[in-house]
């Protein structure tokens, strides 16, 4: 399977996106899906979206970016985490 690029977005592109990127990479590797992640802040997502296969965000992002957007807060709160991982896997395999 071709390696997928996930754009991980948070308010500043530094704090929560670092945690989420690490978790997503780890979990997708465990599921046998090769991914790389790029972190960015909300203001940058529009210009970076064209290069990404998927966007995972802990901050609101526009929904007209032409790429699937999945909320990543579950990696902080734990609530619905498995469902989010399934969503991510589905979006990458699809």
């Amino acid at each position: 399977m071709k390696k997928k690029l996930i754009l991980v977005v948070c308010g500043t592109g530094v704090a929560t996106s670092t945690l989420v990127a690490a978790k997503v990479e780890e979990e997708m590797q465990a599921r046998g899906i090769p991914v790389s992640t790029q972190q960015c802040k909300a203001a940058e997502v529009r210009s970076l979206a064209p290069n990404a296969d998927l966007i995972v965000a802990t901050t609101p992002v526009p929904n007209d970016l032409g790429k699937p957007v999945i909320k990543g807060l579950a990696f902080l709160t734990g609530i619905g985490r498995d469902a989010v991982l399934d969503q991510i896997e589905k979006a990458l395999r699809g």
Partner: protein, 151 residues
């Protein structure tokens, strides 16, 4: 690896704070950090300003948590102040600023670098995912009891 326990500042554990707003809660905890020489005078206003545009409320269901922070330039030494609020205070949700969350626990993060930030956030995330630990934190009536709940 830096643990949450290493960054907790015992003198900045504040139970049952009376605060009428997110700003007031942040100011209270920031003042404590400033008195301890951990942050600059600019810290409180910077955290409050950031919270207004990039809220840090985390919806957990019963006991919601907020993790306000700001840029390293306002921080002198890394550490975490933790406050529990006597009555719930409204913060906005991190991934939906229109969603208002009643918050009882605030982790005020004073961080100086990105790597430290990642470790700390991982530990805070782990902790907040255990409702019993949060209950224990809320029930604590003094700093020592809070410290025990955070170990």
């Amino acid at each position: 690896m830096t643990m949450l326990a290493d960054l907790i500042i015992p003198e900045a554990l504040c139970p049952a704070i009376d605060a009428g707003s997110a700003s007031a809660a942040i100011e209270f905890l920031s003042a404590r950090l400033m008195a301890l020489g951990k942050v600059r005078p600019s810290f409180a206003a910077a955290v409050i300003a950031r919270e207004a545009t990039m809220p840090t409320g985390l919806p957990l269901g019963d006991l919601n948590v907020a993790i306000p922070h700001t840029d390293p330039e306002h921080v002198l030494a890394p550490g975490v102040a933790v406050g529990t609020l006597r009555t719930p205070v409204q913060f906005c949700s991190m991934d939906d600023p229109d969603e208002r969350l009643p918050v009882r626990i605030v982790f005020l993060l004073a961080l100086t670098d990105k790597k430290l930030q990642l470790n700390l956030l991982q530990h805070v995330a782990e902790m907040i995912q255990q409702p019993q630990r949060l209950e224990q934190l809320i029930a604590a009536t003094d700093a020592a009891a809070m410290h025990a709940a955070l170990k």
